[in-house]
């Protein structure tokens, strides 16, 4: 079945609500409206207002209340309306959600999912295009995943709901309306990276919104005789070092692409691990192609600011120039 990512998420959430009566959804405008992106469209009608909750306008409330619900045996799936509006909830996420298992010596499990539409490239106003993944990936106790295809959206959201740890589930909103085939089942565990395109010259590591861009760049590079292997990380915490290492082991070169800023970004983590563990097999330094170390710019500047196809191709050139 070919559906958009929005529809795939909707189907995945519907299945999660159907399969487990303890699952419930909470967020601003997710019920009557079906969410500003319509990810929860129709779910309130079918599952009722106790399971699809239009919350008051407060993100700390959404996550804080989800913690209490989880302690009472529920599996809340929270929607944060946009990446830039998660920050009022960050206190609850970092000081409570991420740490209660540890604090309680394992007695408290918080199977809470926090869905966040994230990333840029949609011509939007401020706070609607951010990439906050590293704040969460840097916080022990949280799992952080991101889907790049409708198929992954459908399966990963259900896997995230089934997790016994809190999961920050990042949805690349730029690709919400991109359609793709959705298979009825998956064999791929939530935390495993996937090779989206096989190649031999260089490994291009991407996740979420940069995956389709990376694939496009790989297509163009192929026309120039360069064989690019594209790895979709899918999970940032934990992340699948094994798959990435194996690929770089073969190609000897790595480029990492993300929209979040350069310094202290996820690319730095990847580069550090590769130089540590694949040092003898690397033929070039790990190249990062990312957003810049500035706040997200006004939308008229975003296409040059984001790591687009051209900047990724430049990065591939740089890697291959060694």
């Amino acid at each position: 079945m070919t559906v958009s990512m929005v529809k795939a998420l909707n189907d995945g959430l519907r299945k999660a609500l159907t399969d487990d009566p303890q699952v419930l959804l909470m967020g601003e405008d997710i019920g009557r409206l079906g969410g500003v992106f319509r990810v929860t469209d129709g779910l309130r009608k079918d599952f009722g207002e106790l399971r699809v909750v239009d919350t008051p306008l407060g993100e700390a409330g959404i996550v804080g209340a989800a913690i209490g619900l989880a302690m009472r045996g529920y599996r809340p799936v929270c929607e944060i309306q946009f990446d830039g509006f998660v920050y009022p909830a960050v206190n609850q996420i970092i000081t409570q959600l991420a740490k209660l298992r540890h604090r309680s010596a394992g007695r408290i499990s918080l199977p809470v999912v926090i869905r966040i539409p994230y990333g840029g490239g949609i011509g939007s106003i401020e706070h609607h295009s951010e990439s906050p993944e590293t704040y969460f990936a840097h916080t022990a106790g949280l799992k952080v995943v991101t889907c790049a295809t409708p198929n992954d959206a459908f399966h990963m959201i259900q896997q995230a709901v089934a997790e016994d740890d809190p999961v920050v589930f990042l949805e690349p909103k730029r690709h919400y309306w991109t359609k793709g085939e959705v298979a009825p089942a998956t064999e791929v565990p939530l935390e495993q990276a996937v090779i989206r395109r096989a190649g031999t010259d260089v490994t291009l590591i991407a996740y979420g919104p940069t995956v389709p861009v990376a694939l496009e760049a790989a297509d163009i590079a192929a026309e120039e005789g360069r064989s690019v292997e594209v790895v979709d990380l899918r999970s940032l915490s934990p992340w699948d070092v094994t798959t990435v290492r194996a690929s770089v082991h073969r190609t000897g070169r790595a480029v990492v692409a993300h929209e979040a800023a350069f310094s202290h970004g996820f690319g730095a983590e990847v580069a550090a691990r590769l130089q540590d563990e694949e040092f003898h097999f690397l033929e070039a330094p790990v190249v990062r192609v990312t957003g810049y170390d500035t706040p997200y710019p006004p939308s008229r500047l975003e296409s040059d600011w984001l790591p687009g196809v051209d900047r990724i191709l430049n990065a591939i050139d740089r890697s291959l120039s060694y």
Partner: protein
């Protein structure tokens, strides 16, 4: 289960009807709680500004439809609340708006074209917040209420409140929506303002909706009643009555300037259009409700008053129509003339001094922007 409670709000609202000085038919009345000396009010000017901001809004929506703006949050229906509140301000008073206060911006003397850049994507701000004592729009719900508090703390420390000097005492006017009442930060702002008796007036436009959430999702009592719990006065006015909004804000700002502390004003009004041009209000509210409120239009009642009292001549309306056309033309031309920002601007304005490392990124970025891809083959 809270969801099963029968619309408790309407009962509470009945017990606390908003104060009205000008009814929907255009008749004036008085209210002992809200004295207003009409000799101090320029009714034709009030109407003119309301009509002009409505035109500004209509034009911006048209520009969005034509693809010139990415988005526009309409103020339609809230002209009286905004213009009334703005008319109570002194130039030196500081305003902290949300993203919908185009009417206040207009009254503060901002170039209306400067309101468009943020929604066109040419800027994240668009004006000098100090020049008109009107802060940049704040898009993060509730955040600005605390900025207003801090500004009020500064005024207090400067001796610019409660000094008794009418040329010196200053207040802060913070705008917020009904949805913003639920953010923790708003509640912190109320607590700080109360505990320190700060010269801050919180002006809540209760337009009944926070995107798709009706007011009952946020509260079971009228917003104005909340103030008592924090320890300062709350007043509930008809937000479609420009005189009640002006009188309430004037009274509250006077009190704040003189050292009397904060007030929460709830202006009961209605968001006539969808939340923004990206929203579809038919998904969550009935057309009849919107029609009901449109019958209480803020402009119509003042116009009716001006016409029946003969306060203005036909020339007034002809002149106003011309001004509206001029404004529309200015917005259309101005919008298309808004230049794209420089590729270097995000780098230049991130820190007071650009760190060396960022300067290197800027160099690489400018090279990329000017030369495009290195091998010149890609798009």
């Amino acid at each position: 289960m809270a969801n099963a409670v029968q619309d408790p709000l309407s009962e509470a609202s009945l017990a606390d009807p908003p104060i009205q000085l000008l009814d929907p038919s255009g008749k004036l009345s008085t209210d002992a709680r809200l004295p207003l000396d009409l000799a101090t009010v320029d009714l034709p000017a009030l109407y003119r500004d309301m009509a002009l901001v409505r035109r500004l809004d209509t034009e911006a929506i048209a520009l969005q439809r034509q693809g010139e703006l990415g988005l526009w949050p309409s103020l339609r229906g809230q002209e009286a609340a905004q213009v009334g509140a703005a008319y109570a301000l002194y130039d030196r008073d500081m305003v902290f708006p949300t993203y919908r206060e185009h009417g206040v911006a207009w009254c503060r003397g901002l170039d209306p074209v400067s309101l468009l850049g943020l929604f066109r994507g040419t800027t994240l701000g668009g004006w000098d917040p100090y020049a008109h004592h009107f802060n940049l729009y704040t898009l993060v719900i509730g955040a600005q209420t605390l900025h207003a508090v801090g500004y009020g703390m500064g005024l207090y420390r400067d001796g610019s409140t409660g000094s008794g000097d009418p040329d010196r005492d200053t207040a802060v006017l913070a705008f917020l929506g009904d949805g913003a009442l639920s953010e923790g930060e708003t509640n912190e702002a109320f607590i700080w303002a109360a505990a320190q008796n700060l010269p801050v007036v919180f002006f809540c436009q209760n337009n009944q909706w926070a995107i798709s959430a009706p007011y009952s999702v946020q509260s079971r009592i009228p917003a104005a009643q909340r103030a008592a719990g924090y320890g300062f006065p709350g007043i509930r006015v008809d937000g479609n009555d420009v005189l009640a909004c002006l009188a309430a804000t004037r009274q509250a700002l006077d009190q704040a300037r003189s050292g009397g502390g904060p007030t929460l004003i709830e202006a009961v009004t209605y968001r006539v259009n969808a939340h923004t041009t990206a929203d579809d209000a038919t998904r969550y509210r009935a057309a009849e409700e919107t029609e009901d409120w449109t019958a209480r239009d803020p402009l119509e009642r003042l116009r009716a008053h001006l016409e029946t009292t003969g306060a203005v001549t036909d020339e007034y309306f002809t002149d106003l129509e011309q001004r509206e056309r001029d404004l529309a033309e200015r917005l259309r031309a101005g919008c298309r003339g808004l230049a794209d920002p420089d590729a270097s601007s995000p780098f230049e304005h991130t820190y007071a001094q650009m760190p060396a490392d960022l300067r290197q990124q800027l160099r690489e970025h400018l090279e990329f922007v000017s030369t495009g891809p290195q091998d010149g083959e890609q798009k």
